[in-house]
Symmetry: C3
């Protein structure tokens, strides 16, 4: 019998099943440096231990998205190795910052199944939870993916479609223990704009663009131990191109958003996300944001912005999400709905 | 007189000569992260400090091959700067895990010399030993390289060809102090297959492939302070191509072998190795393994597998090492014979 | 009003103005590893904590140029985002080694302004000072850049051109506290050549070349949080090429200079520097040095070499800086005047 991992097919999943994912992973200062080498991030908390300590975060957290990518990567061999497409995310909450030395594990529970009418694929819904070496929750999220069946004649499971929130409610956001923005240093952070300076409906063109290189997206994706073949192997797709991991585009957009959102220091939640179009090396990625909601939180000086963060191939100064036909505008790569923490 | 290093030529070596190589090198968490960004490694011990501690290894070791590459790189300026070819390895044993903060130095003794009949080159045999900052041996190995003569008229030295073992005997493998696999966590490690599940003669196709990029192989090779010009300089070879460092292919194959050998946690020895064909950027590397020998070792729950690890350009599902003519099959890049430690 | 950073234009600067640059940055072991992956550096002090401690430097400093790039990168968004050209450096002194855990901030004072006769641009002179988390000076330097005016009709400021030294005097070099080369290990460092072995006027061809890749120069430049668009975005220049950050060429040349200057352990000062021609991916960079001055310093066993370090595209064994017409020879990329500390 083969000792290699074939991944799970649609008929291998059952509602209520719990999967303990392999490969616990210790986060280090090396991850911080590589993240900064691959993405143009300049947010003051992950950049400076001194700044982080000045707002109550000591030891020095890494970018929230480092934790997201590491935790997400664990699920790929079991959940999405045979995926047709990553369909969506919801209810992703960051419960505590991850610091160098933390070891993350991820566990997933199957919370929904729905076979497609073609009989050859189905949608699998999982709630995944990443915990640290003290069994504290670092982050959790729901994701749903379309997965191949190995045997088209395998019987369809009972359809269970879980209810997921359109967005995490502001009241349900977790503020990191000790976070205190009351002595926040705007100059060091690089922007005078605080919660009250952002208005719902406001759009911000983040101006800068980054051209993707093959080595960079592969190094990032490998760092997260993501094993999907299409990112690494020119022989895995008929067109011979390596598909950029969707999370790479998320991190590029988040880092580019510094220019206009420099005080959006921490990601508190990802409410929803669509990878609208694939990205490839030599594409130049830009980003724009729309303010969807604002909230004051129950921590000193802390507020939250709910943003639509859009990554585009080529710059779209008009910041158009959808055309008159309701479809995504050409060039849109990513449509991400997230909560970030800002000083108020 | 020139102050740059011309390297040693064949006539510069003498049997019994000891060379203290320059550039001691401290290993850090940055090396771990870069190794993980460049190679798709997922072995649980180097990935997770918590897992490593659970099997008795604390502080957290880096990949054994990090130590190998660093230690090997030190020898290049003195031993192989004027090499025609790296001919072989033998008797490479890993004596203790290397952890962040360890500083490695390498010393080589010339143990054999044999001028070739063409009078223009010769084979140099060295035994190299890498020690840490406490003068403890981290690893040692024998290697032989074909080296140019600077002066074809220099007299041939007396021929001395050292005897080297075909393979390190299982009884001579060094188990890291404290290693204890009696509470080994198969789920975290990613595989239920232990020593007894592998049979001599069994072959495992590791399935996955990785396409090499120029930046990645150069960054890896430079990280090990390997100075061979052909890896970095398009003007160093008539064809204008940068040759991929042979050790890069070793690490790619080792990392790919996770899929089928996830419990092959540590490398205990390298018995022999041939770089059968050169690799270049845009090649897609795959790997397969053959089980050559199995052994129970004198440490709790610890066994050893002796493997032939073969890297190929393009996937060879037939796992053919040699054709009917006895020559290596087309596509074979690397033929490596190594011992790995596994739970039993 | 736009929340993105438009950078400063010539008319936005005034003599005496002090700019506190954003984004304090903590240096880590990850920076050391990435620096070693991107540049072929082998100087024993940054390579080995044990060697560094043996010459009095404990904790283990990173390369001086890591500090330079990080500190310089901070100034880009405020000083040179709208620059036409970086015209020069002077009086750059390294006051103390930077070690992992140090957080660097940079502050600049405008010390000169001179509008160009075309009325559309002007030269801005700044003195920048990088301090650590204890408010100790890590390094300081003067630089002047040609910057666009936003409004050509803005009135010209009074012309102030500061006096800058042609070179830092040997007596003004800062030797790191505790540095002691009296038990210096030539073998570990990789060269027997000490202060007295170098003669003023001597030129050294550093022999080796490195071909630049896009991913490597972008990762390096991003690591320093340098935000100049031309380095990252193929859509930022009419020719669709990404310009290599000048500091990348400085670090390449410095690392290549190991071969001939292995004992040039620390950079004490940068006296002057010209980025003579742009560099692009696929260029192969070589370096040569000329000894300009030698000095004994007031620390045990410590001397200094003042060097002209020249980077070229393609190797120039003739080591020609300028042609008969007084212009830089074809192929010269960088002409850097610096002081390095060596054992005597």
């Amino acid at each position: 019998m083969s000792k290699t991992n074939p991944g799970n097919f649609f008929e291998d999943f059952s509602v209520g099943q719990v999967i303990e994912h392999a490969t616990p992973r210790t986060v280090t200062e090396g991850d911080r440096a590589l993240y900064g080498a691959i993405y143009p991030t300049r947010f003051a908390i992950p950049s400076s231990a001194q700044f982080a300590a000045s707002v109550g975060l000591d030891p020095h957290p890494v970018e929230d998205l480092v934790a997201f990518h590491v935790a997400f990567g664990k699920t790929v061999p079991d959940v999405s190795l045979n995926a047709v497409a990553n369909l969506g995310y919801a209810e992703c909450r960051f419960h505590r910052p991850v610091v160098p030395g933390d070891t993350l594990r991820t566990r997933s529970e199957v919370i929904g199944l729905k076979q497609n009418s073609n009989g050859r694929t189905g949608v699998v819904y999982v709630r995944s939870t990443a915990t640290n070496q003290r069994d504290e929750v670092a982050l959790d999220w729901v994701r749903w993916v379309m997965v191949h069946k190995a045997d088209p004649d395998a019987p369809a499971p009972e359809t269970v479609v879980p209810e997921v929130a359109d967005a995490v409610a502001a009241a349900d956001l977790v503020v990191p223990a000790g976070l205190d923005f009351s002595a926040y240093d705007d100059v060091a952070a690089g922007s005078p704009y605080r919660l009250g300076d952002y208005a719902v409906g406001e759009r911000i063109d983040h101006v800068d663009g980054v051209t993707i290189s093959e080595a960079e997206h592969m190094m990032a994706t490998r760092l997260w131990q993501n094993t999907a073949k299409v990112h690494f192997n020119t022989e895995a797709r008929p067109d011979g191109r390596r598909l950029v991991y969707g999370g790479h585009v998320i991190s590029l957009a988040r880092a580019l958003s510094f220019n206009g959102l420099a005080n959006a220091q921490l990601v508190a939640a990802i409410n929803a996300g669509s990878h609208v179009a694939p990205a490839f090396a030599d594409d130049t990625v830009y980003a724009w944001s729309e303010v969807l909601e604002t909230a004051e939180l129950d921590a000193p000086g802390v507020g939250a912005l709910r943003l639509r963060l859009v990554a585009t191939k080529g710059r779209d100064e008009s910041m158009t999400l959808r055309g008159d036909d309701g479809k995504y505008a050409p060039g849109v790569l990513l449509d991400l709905d997230l909560w970030v923490l800002v000083p108020r």
